[in-house]
Symmetry: D2
Subunit: 165 residues, 4 copies
Amino acid sequence: MARVRILVTGGTFDKEYDELTGRLFFRDTHLQEMLRRGRARLDLTVETVMMVDSLELDEGGRATIVARSREAAERAIVITHGTDTMCDTAAALARASLGDKTIVLTGAMVPYAFGSSDGLFNLGSALSFVQVLPPGVYIAMNGRHFLWNAVRKNRETGTFEAVQG
Amino acid sequence: MARVRILVTGGTFDKEYDELTGRLFFRDTHLQEMLRRGRARLDLTVETVMMVDSLELDEGGRATIVARSREAAERAIVITHGTDTMCDTAAALARASLGDKTIVLTGAMVPYAFGSSDGLFNLGSALSFVQVLPPGVYIAMNGRHFLWNAVRKNRETGTFEAVQG
Amino acid sequence: MARVRILVTGGTFDKEYDELTGRLFFRDTHLQEMLRRGRARLDLTVETVMMVDSLELDEGGRATIVARSREAAERAIVITHGTDTMCDTAAALARASLGDKTIVLTGAMVPYAFGSSDGLFNLGSALSFVQVLPPGVYIAMNGRHFLWNAVRKNRETGTFEAVQG
Amino acid sequence: MARVRILVTGGTFDKEYDELTGRLFFRDTHLQEMLRRGRARLDLTVETVMMVDSLELDEGGRATIVARSREAAERAIVITHGTDTMCDTAAALARASLGDKTIVLTGAMVPYAFGSSDGLFNLGSALSFVQVLPPGVYIAMNGRHFLWNAVRKNRETGTFEAVQG
């Protein structure tokens, strides 16, 4: 059974609605609930690294994600991440030369806690890609996988698309 | 962009609740709605082959699924299927020697139309595996992939597990 | 704050999907979860009398529901009940002459555990009617209230409609 | 069958998540979908008066709501409204002396479009109260009804509570 570490960093994935203020916020990650719903039977470890909106992620935060990825004993790592700066974190991971690890970043356009989220689809996708792709840093969104340097988020459509690497 | 054909055969995936009789039944497939929710951006064709409970699938039905897989122009095929006889259909496909196609069967333990379904997770998983696995016939369930002859459904736990191939 | 007793008897309201058998069954009532979701702030007591499909409810079961209604200290009682024989139980309660109690039966066409249930709407409706209607036995469905002897379930449409009392 | 007009004014009830900006916004009302889910069988007319956050509702907006209530041919009116200034609009309606109309304001703490909304419960409640309460202006929240001058929103708990009228 594949051994996979999931590093949680926040992002839309894990946002919730605060009914007293009418604003979105972070509480706990929904990863365990999502894995239960997906009936995932992998050798999984879920580690919450931070809970932030990826627009607020600075170089220090990015360095922490790189460090946790380096320290992980697993060779397969899925990182849940806000979509806005997912490509930047992927680039930071790639430049850190983490050896023979396969790292897949994924996220969501709609919070899992809301009805219509793509999060469960993306999580199923990322966990699958991480088991079979060769070492490297990838983004898994929209049912596709992209090498870290061959992808960008299209802000008009909210989808990820291939660019010349 | 990967070109994938999805063959719909029914199964728990697509069951609905008939509020007049209190029984489960099939109407239309939910695949298009699920792909929209997953924001899938693949070159996808969805084809409804049949809408049946897989316990009612006989050899004739199985031969139809094999024929449609053979006729498909795509080299990547995902088949949504009831979990009870998914392994039998996978075996029928493998014995048919469909050449260089990668075929991934998937299903759900809970109907997509109900709140707590694993269907979206499994669909994200199957669509991902089908893009990267070598030709062959596989089952994608529980976040894992299995070669057709190395898997069985454990009816006590409702999960798929590896067996000696 | 109004004091209301909710007697749970099962019905579609509380059915769940058994993913191992593919059949509907009863486990625990969802009433507490529904009241939390509705942010109900009433002086409520929830009592599970039985968990049955109302088609399987016999005279003994109906007598139990009458007895529990009689024994209840509250003057306002909501009974969750399968829709198929809801009118029969309402009639049994009316014939029992329970004095100055206001009793409102309600149910659902789709289980609460499934996404598209009318259960939460009906519960909000029944709890409201029970606070303001005069003593008597009523059915609250489809946003309406009916006196026990002036209503029937239309099995073709799945709705409740008025009849000459 | 009771004849009821529903005046839609926006509020949390009808907010949606904009996946491109990560912000909440208004599009169309969800009232028709909610009434379908509740299988409401009343003689209902739904009229969208405005779609605003009730914190942004000024006296002009409030006057419009009063005018529409006055012009309505129905004697039973439900108004969906943001909870923050619901009591202010109720007061404006009461001071306008709308004669023999029963007006019930309701809202939601969580948008209907998100999974865990209280909106369907509150709608079932408001539609029920409006059919049986005597003429006057009321707020229906938390399964309760309050006269317009005997209620306030407790901003710490997010619930409505009785005050000395």
